[in-house]
């Protein structure tokens, strides 16, 4: 948690305003101006394509086919959105993505917390070995699991189900979650546990009454960071899901390509805009928590 709070406590320490003007007058820093220009340029590169995506979704088709791509749309239209909803079952896709994201997150948080509790708090003889075992999952690419899981799923009839996506998504995210929870549990003082133990609380009550409530912040971090990846997962969904009813957003979007040999780009972009909105809203509202989560996740490594 040290790293997580560090940025917050540091930011007020940015040069005191009284000293700043004097220094600035002495050397009208070329370096600072340059770095500002550079930052702006890079931000434009990062953001403009997304703005363009949105603008294009409001263009008419002729405008898109003939016009200068940088120009503002000559007229705005919502028709693309109407066509987007006709072509695909966007509501269904969003619902499916939501179910998969929730299901996987539940497993990641609950199991991550449990494993971290067993390894970090309860402790056992092979705990170092088990911790190492979980580390493998951080390094290994997810593609290795595709063929074996495809075969296993078809023997136990799990192909084309929500579980077929949730299991590997949760499994591969588990190591990072365990890691984040263990590093948080390290900061819960031993005395807290010892006092509770003296009062007669067993490991289950301590988990439920002390560890769980204290870790809510870490839960938020873990959920936010994982949701980005799970919501957008393409490879597991593409491999294990076949029926339209179960298609998540990334697969649903693919339906817009080649449906009739050619692509209706403006409608496709409208669909893209619709599907990125939920996560984008969550991100914009909770970006502070998400950014802190991402920062702390790696700086602790």
């Amino acid at each position: 948690m040290i790293a997580q709070t560090a940025p917050a406590t540091q930011s007020p320490a940015v040069p005191p305003s009284s000293a700043a003007p004097k220094r600035r007058r002495r050397k009208p820093s070329l370096y600072r101006t340059l770095s500002r220009v550079l930052i702006m340029l890079i931000v434009i590169v990062q953001v403009y394509p997304l703005a363009w995506l949105f603008l294009t979704s409001l263009r008419t088709e002729q405008d898109f086919a003939t016009g200068d791509p940088f120009a503002l749309p000559s007229s705005l239209t919502w028709e693309n959105y109407a066509r987007a909803f006709e072509t695909g079952d966007l509501g269904r896709n969003i619902l499916n993505s939501f179910i998969v994201t929730m299901g996987a997150n539940l497993l990641i948080v609950l199991f991550g917390m449990m494993a971290a509790y067993a390894i970090q708090v309860l402790g056992f003889r092979l705990s170092r070995f088990v911790r190492g075992l979980f580390l493998v999952g951080i390094i290994v690419p997810v593609q290795i699991a595709l063929v074996p899981l495809f075969i296993d799923y078809s023997t136990v009839n799990l192909l084309d189900t929500y579980q077929s996506m949730i299991i590997p998504l949760a499994g591969f995210a588990l190591p990072m979650s365990i890691y984040l929870f263990s590093s948080f549990f390290e900061y819960i003082p031993r005395e807290t546990y010892e006092a509770a133990s003296l009062d007669g609380a067993g490991p289950y009550r301590i988990f439920g009454l002390i560890t769980l409530p204290l870790s809510l912040n870490t839960v938020v971090t873990v959920v936010l960071v994982n949701s980005i990846f799970i919501w957008n997962d393409f490879i597991f969904a593409n491999t294990f899901v076949l029926s339209e009813d179960l298609k998540t957003i990334p697969l649903g979007l693919q339906n817009y390509i080649g449906a009739m040999g050619k692509v209706d780009w403006t409608a496709t972009f409208a669909a893209v805009c619709v599907t990125i909105t939920p996560l984008l809203l969550v991100f914009l509202v909770l970006n502070k928590a998400m950014i802190q989560g991402l920062e702390s996740g790696a700086t602790k490594g």
């Binding site: 790293a3 495809f150 499994g171």
Partner: protein, 293 residues
């Protein structure tokens, strides 16, 4: 260790996560290893072929080697964009007084967008008819001779499919490096400035050594992510034209699910895992040794 714990309580907490992890991660790895010694199309009987798949992969499969080198180039482009870009922006950002939070948010935005959406977006950015953003931009700055269909030109397609992946995650790595940079003790930096250190020496002698542990972590993250890159090349070009943007991952996927050659696909999978482990080992070896010297 908690005083009042029993063996059962450890198992109650450890077993469910461990089972999930074994089912989804560990067991499939072993299974891939096992399958890599067989020839199997998923329907007929499995046939044990020993090392034959490995021999075919390493000595007789041009597509495999092509994909391997493509994947290395893809990785290199991603690393330059992600780590290089991240380091530059994070350093610049520390000199900024206001708007840091806003820039961090904007910069991270692409990481939230799904790869399918990004693939669509970049297909249009690279397109020539109707003219896409990139070609229009080249035209304006007087480099019209460079205009081309970036995704169907065998010389540019690999770079063209690598760039979106780099673009997408630069913000993520920037955040991590930025968090490390602002944790560098101010006293250290001020002392160096008083001693007359230039911006560059300040960076190479104080800041960078201080953030080295985080740099190692991010390099490992970016490398393992780069080696598992799949979505964007698969969606944008499906490895084409020819094999000019085929990566090991896309080749493995097609071998498994288009040619249904499960045994050989598993052999490629095993190779990818070894490749990742070797890469991580190399990074640790190189960066740790430099730190010691």
């Amino acid at each position: 260790m908690l005083p009042n714990r029993s063996r059962t309580s450890v198992l109650v907490f450890l077993l469910p996560p461990l089972l999930l992890y074994c089912a989804a991660v560990l067991f499939p790895i072993l299974q891939s290893l096992f399958l890599s010694f067989f020839s199997w199309n998923g329907i007929s009987d499995m046939e044990f072929v020993g090392l034959q798949n490995y021999i075919r992969m390493l000595t007789a499969d041009d597509v495999f080697w092509r994909s391997f080198f493509n994947a290395l180039l893809y990785l290199a482009i991603c690393l330059v964009l992600q780590l290089g870009g991240a380091l530059v922006v994070a350093s610049l950002l520390t000199s900024l007084r206001r708007g840091r939070e806003l820039i961090k948010t904007l910069y991270l935005l692409p990481a939230v967008i799904s790869t399918v959406a990004i693939a669509f977006l970049f297909v249009r950015i690279y397109s020539i008819d109707p003219v896409g953003l990139l070609n229009q931009l080249l035209h304006w700055v007087g480099l019209g001779s460079l205009e081309r269909a970036w995704l169907s030109d065998v010389n540019t397609v690999l770079a063209a499919v690598s760039a979106p992946e780099g673009w997408r995650f630069t913000g993520l790595y920037m955040l991590i490096i930025y968090a490390a940079l602002i944790a560098v003790p101010k006293e250290l930096e001020e002392a160096a400035v008083l001693d007359g250190a230039s911006k560059w020496t300040l960076f190479t002698k104080i800041r960078f050594p201080y953030i080295r542990p985080v740099w190692i972590t991010t390099t490992i993250m970016a490398t393992t992510y780069g080696l598992r890159g799949f979505d964007i090349p698969y969606l944008m070009t499906n490895g084409g034209p020819g094999q000019s943007s085929e990566l090991l991952t896309t080749y493995m996927y097609k071998t498994a699910f288009t040619s249904t050659d499960f045994g050989y696909a598993s052999t490629i999978s095993v190779f990818i895992v070894i490749e990742c482990l070797v890469a991580v080992g190399l990074i640790l070896f190189m960066l740790k040794r430099k730190a010691d010297s």
